[in-house]
Amino acid sequence: MSDVIGALVDREYAFGFHSDLDTDFAPKGLNEDVVRLISAKKDEPDWLLEWRLGAFRHFLTLEEPTWPNLHHPPIDYQDMHYWAAPKPRPQLASLDEVDPEIRATFDKLGISIAEQERLSGVAVDAILDSVSVATTFKAALAEVGVIFCSFSEAVREHSELVRTYLGSVVGYRDNFFAALNSAVFSDGSFCFIPAGVQCPMELSTYFRINAAQTGQFERTLIIAEEGASVSYLEGCTAPMRDENQLHAAVVELIALDDASIKYSTVQNWYPGDADGKGGIYNFVTKRGRCAGARSKISWTQVETGSAITWKYPSVILQGDDSVGEFYSVAVTTNHQQADTGTKMIHIGRNTRSTILSKGISAGHAQNTYRGLVKILRSATGARNHTRCDSLLIGTDCGAHTFPYVEVKNDTAQVEHEASTSRISDDQLFYCRQRGLTEEDASTMIVNGFCREVFDELPMEYAVEAQALMRVSLEGAVG
């Protein structure tokens, strides 16, 4: 079967086109003037400019982290654009006013904005090069009091909410990439579910990097008030380009008493070619705060793209009896590297967390799970269950597990399980003897390995994830 593993290079990236949009760039480089320029372009209030400048000044004191199990040439933060927006960018009264090129881009991605609005019942915020180009279903959501809009619009229309919650979960002092994002973020999604409201549809943001030599820095802020609930989906793609592009996003979730937020990601940024050239560097800070009692935050991620993934969607379990979940499938092939996992910080009493991580490595890829379970002194009766499974395909890849556990309360129960396995010749032969092709057999086995995580995804995404798994591993197994 080794020759089939070698054919891993056959993998094609289906979303590698780029669109010819007239784009408005800030000059390359990072300095205070660029931060001011971004803020001015967006006509932001003074408090936000001050916040950005605070973040930028703090950023200058930081060094890029070296602890991840990732290897890449140094990133030149002066050699990229920090602002790129498709122009012109008028206030859009309806979808008909969206630039036809932009609409064509999203159509090619299978995210026909207009179709989505008519047929799918999923509200979509489409973000191109960090600028929100269209948000659907706004009116229907407004009827029940749900706010779902671009971050810029939220700053204009719901300034107090943004001011209250921005940086309240991931402060700009949190880490190098969060500081960078806080200084230069250009747009993102904002979502507010008022008390007692079950959001009537799935909310979805679709991120697309288009412009060359441009970093993408968006922020997502989701607030679920007392007793509210929402399910949120995020999808990502980017063109094939020879240079590496930086994506440093921040996602903050806040759940008040009895609120629940389910956040699902299917990340398929361009992973680079078979030789490891090009691809997105994905340095993302995602964190949720279960601020209220009995609140729940659940992260589900399927990570198949990016040259480098550095990402630890985490939950701060502050409210008593709150629940944090992390379900992850991370697939790395060719020369991809992923260092991903989660942090569960137990503060409240009887808080519970579940971590289920499935890592799949093929080709020359390196896949690392890194997780922290921290039980504070106050977290009486806290419980965590962690399971990390790794699947290796071929002999040139690696799987690594770094679980950190810190327990300061002796009533806590913390369990950790880990396994590493391979697709065995026995399994493949068994399936083929029953009439399945080698490709179908390996896809079936890999999907079986991921099943518990896929079960956590909303239905449409689960189907997409399984299909993606097939494309990602095309030629990789057999």
């Binding site: 032969f429 003897q433 009439g435 099943r451």
Partner: protein, 249 residues
């Protein structure tokens, strides 16, 4: 019919099958017995196309040369192997697996695929005959099954896939009396004028329930004796000693 002539198979230069000849006419059930290491499992692997063997000789099935075909193409031609050690596939539902297999085979036979509901109906009938709990369908393929459950699952797959040549590799080993009876009945039900079967076994007990048309003794990589059903009991009484041959260097 299955026609095997002068079949040789070796692994890393070590000869395992050494000029094996065997014919199984359509509709007949043949049994192969033999001591450990005589090449029984190698024979079933070579017939079903498992990688890792250097093979020469002739294996034809209904006039089709099987040796160049992939395992899945042989399965499509109607060759089925009930595994001695059925493999576990965690996370893949038994029902999904079985339906995928059944539909893969149906496609190659030009039959329409079975929709999930139709499939479920057929599967439940077969399971009832094998005294299997329908809950089996929702479990992962063989994962956490007992030895007897795994073997019954093999017979279930065989019944659903309706092969034209069924090879059973020590399906009876490790079974208790009840499981043995159920498996034997399952095999007996599949006996048909259109189907050939090759039962590989250590024990004559299974052959008391499933009366084979012919019994062959495999030793040193070839068939050294053939006879009727009574040969199985002769072997039970006398052992393989009188039939063993040494492998030429």
């Amino acid at each position: 019919m299955l026609h095997i002539a002068n079949l040789h198979a070796s692994v890393a230069g070590r000869t395992i099958l050494d000029g094996l000849d065997l014919d199984i006419p359509t509709g007949e059930v043949h049994a192969i017995m033999g001591p450990n290491g005589s090449g029984k499992t190698t024979l079933s692997n070579v017939l079903t196309g498992r990688d890792g063997y250097d093979v020469t000789g002739t294996v034809s099935f209904d006039g089709i040369d099987l040796l160049p075909l992939s395992p899945e193409d042989r399965a499509a031609a109607g060759v089925f192997l009930a595994f001695q050690h059925p493999v576990e596939i965690p996370g893949v539902g038994n029902m999904y697996f079985l339906r995928t297999a059944v539909n893969a085979v149906r496609r190659t036979r030009g039959l329409p695929e079975l929709a999930p509901v139709e499939f479920l109906g057929v599967a439940k009938e077969h399971m009832a005959r094998l005294e299997m709990d329908p809950a089996f369908l929702s479990r992962s393929v063989n994962a956490g099954f007992s030895g007897g459950e795994k073997k019954r699952n093999e017979i279930l797959q065989m019944s659903m896939l309706e092969p034209r040549l069924a090879i059973l590799d020590e399906t009876d080993s490790g079974l208790d009396i009840d499981a043995l009876r159920i498996v034997a009945q399952g095999i007996e039900r599949l006996r048909s004028p259109e189907r050939s079967m090759l039962i590989i076994t250590h024990h004559p007990r299974l052959l008391d329930d499933v009366h084979p048309d012919r019994v062959h003794v495999l030793s040193g990589g070839r068939i050294v004796r053939s006879g009727g059903h009574e040969l199985a009991h002769e072997l039970e009484a006398d052992g393989y000693g009188s039939t063993q041959v040494t492998v030429p260097a």
